[in-house]
């Protein structure tokens, strides 16, 4: 089974044998991989019908629900790891979603595109909404309605009580880069955060 490069990167932060909740699990590839190779158990959450059926056909437990409204279904600290991979920007209530993740998981992994990336800033300077391989939709039909810069996102993590335990920064083609903190928000196209709920 092959994982998308960003999924492979996310999987590195999931401890073997942990119980995982993958929010917006798509076709269940990450969960299947974690179950087969890493001895994990857990649940995928998805709402797109064809993805739901495919996830079930992979033998991944799949609960169909709306991440924006229905995360109450999961108990406090009921998962070791909650994954939100390239989904946050498409939620209606990112703050609520992150708060719920902090409640449900002992560790949260959030992977996001960075709107502070210099190319996006440049496109905006020239008077247009940024588009890229990661964000291929025109502004009027994009599902990505809550894009943020890394700086803004880190503020929100703090507000909802999530401490950044580790941050990994990536080039547009998914290569890991060690950008210095002061230019991270300018240079990174994507980021993965490993977060721990405070207190």
């Amino acid at each position: 089974m092959t994982l998308r490069p960003d999924q492979a990167m996310v999987s590195r932060f999931v401890p073997d044998g942990s119980r995982v909740l993958d929010l917006g699990c798509g076709r269940g590839s990450l969960m299947r991989y974690l179950m087969d190779r890493r001895g994990c158990t857990g649940t995928g959450v998805e709402i797109a019908p064809e993805a739901v059926v495919e996830t079930i056909s992979k033998g991944v437990p799949l609960i169909e629900l709306d991440i924006d409204r229905e995360l109450d279904e999961f108990g406090d600290k009921s998962y070791d790891v909650v994954v939100l991979s390239r989904v946050l920007q498409a939620t209606y209530k990112p703050r609520e979603v992150l708060s719920q993740m902090a409640r449900i998981g002992s560790r949260c992994i959030v992977s996001v595109p960075n709107m502070g990336y210099w190319r996006h800033r440049w496109v905006l300077m020239r008077g247009h909404m940024p588009m890229s391989k990661e964000l291929p939709h025109a502004w009027y039909d994009t599902p990505n309605i809550h894009l943020s810069t890394l700086a803004d996102l880190e503020e929100l993590f703090d507000v909802v009580g999530l401490d950044v335990w580790e941050r990994q920064l990536f080039t547009p083609d998914g290569r890991l880069r060690n950008y210095p903190d002061r230019v991270a928000n300018l240079m990174a196209a994507n980021a993965i955060y490993v977060l721990t709920p405070r207190g």
């Binding site: 649940t43 079930i56 437990p61 799949l62 609960i63 629900l65 999961f74």
Partner: protein, 396 residues
């Protein structure tokens, strides 16, 4: 399009026959969960498909309140209607009889071949009537399991049911997870709410207040609570459909045209439909069974014990829970409660709410998304079971 017409011939199990077997007798009576004893139990059942060499492809079908052992195919080629779940069971259908050995029976307490309150009490030589003991969902499972023993089937690939059938699937998985490889629980509930119980209460009152009921001795008095039973059925039929579905099917159409005389009879098409449903029900269902089987549901509450799902979680048997968005008899909150209880105890559980305008009855219909989900789930558990056998070092 949610509903497509079924071409019966291309994917039917064909001509089938209901079998009967005495599973409990004086030497080996049925002891119910309550401790009460039923000295003789005959069970009607049907099977479709073939049990494979390893005995690992068996699927058990649990029927709902008024179902029977005739789940698929036809008894005679001229039968107007096939078995009650023919949409789901057959060659190439989600419960694929080319791959699976399918077993369906009639519930104890029922009236279509299996022992129930209308059967003769061997102690008195008269029909049980209200002397028949109250039943629980667990008792249904006990009898299903006895049937499996009789058929020489030790383990199920899956146990599947809709509505009250889903309750049996759930109970079975909770109580005997090592026997149940997976469970599909459709449009069911683990705990009826006040409204659910209220509807059943009115149905029962309607039967018991019919003078023909004669205190449950109608089989001896030669009377029959036909009015009560048909009204119970008419009301139940309303709860099995959605407002939208009824509008789509009947709207405000007149039964006899615009110019017909108005009165208190069957003026609207929907009244004709209910009247018909109420009347045909009398030919196939017994009023006492209606009382007993509805009461079973009222008391069902398997998660009252906090660690009810612990054994199931340890066995790791996956469950699929499905609801329909227009179902208000057992709406999605019921299914979600089941999912929560299972998920919190770490049972591998999948859940979908299927879109359908047809209300509770949706579980009997051909709805693409619904069937695709059941088919995907069963394919997977069957592949995983085969894989598991290989991993354990060959076929046993």
């Amino acid at each position: 399009m949610s509903q497509r017409p079924q071409s019966a011939e291309e994917s039917s199990v064909g001509i089938v026959e209901t079998q009967s077997v005495r599973l409990f007798d004086q030497d080996n009576p049925l002891v119910l969960a309550s401790g009460a004893v039923v000295p003789e139990v005959d069970v009607a059942y049907e099977t479709y498909g073939t049990l494979d060499e390893t005995g690992s492809n068996a699927i058990f079908i649990c029927h709902a309140l008024t179902g029977d052992a005739h789940a698929a195919g036809r008894h005679r080629s001229e039968d107007h209607r096939p078995g009650w779940w023919d949409t789901m069971i057959g060659p190439g259908k989600p419960i694929d009889t080319d791959r699976f050995f399918v077993i369906a029976d009639n519930l104890i307490g029922g009236c279509q071949g299996t022992t129930g309150p209308a059967s003769t009490n061997p102690a008195t030589g008269r029909p049980y009537g209200l002397d028949f003991p109250l039943l629980q969902i667990a008792d249904f499972v006990t009898v299903h399991r006895a049937l499996l023993d009789h058929l020489g089937v030790r383990r199920l690939l899956s146990v599947i049911g809709g509505s009250m059938g889903g309750m049996q699937a759930l109970q079975w998985a909770l109580s005997y997870p090592e026997q149940v490889g997976s469970a599909v629980i459709i449009a069911a509930s683990s705990r009826l709410n006040a409204q659910n119980i209220a509807f059943s209460a009115v149905a029962r009152e309607s039967i018991m207040r019919d003078p023909g009921f004669a205190g449950g001795r109608y089989l001896e008095t030669g009377t029959s609570p036909d009015t009560g039973l048909s009204i119970a059925r008419m009301m139940a039929h309303i709860t099995y459909q959605s407002g939208q579905g009824m509008d789509q099917k009947f709207g405000r159409r007149y039964q006899f045209g615009e110019d017909a005389t108005r009165g208190f009879g069957v003026d609207f098409a929907v009244e004709s439909y209910l009247d018909y449903q109420g009347r045909i029900f009398l030919s196939r269902f017994d009023a006492l069974s209606y009382l007993y089987l509805t009461r079973v549901m009222d008391y069902f509450d398997p998660f009252a014990e906090e660690d009810a799902a612990q054994a199931l979680a340890e066995a790791g048997s996956p469950c699929l829970v499905l609801s329909f968005d227009s179902d208000w008899r057992f709406d999605t909150t019921h299914s979600r409660a089941i999912v929560r209880a299972l998920e919190q105890q770490r049972v591998p559980v999948s859940f979908r709410e299927i879109r359908s305008p047809w209300g509770h009855d949706s579980f009997l219909l051909t709805i693409e998304d619904y069937h695709a989900t059941v088919a995907a789930f069963l394919r997977r558990v069957s592949v995983a079971a085969a894989q598991g056998r290989r991993d354990r070092g060959g076929v046993r």
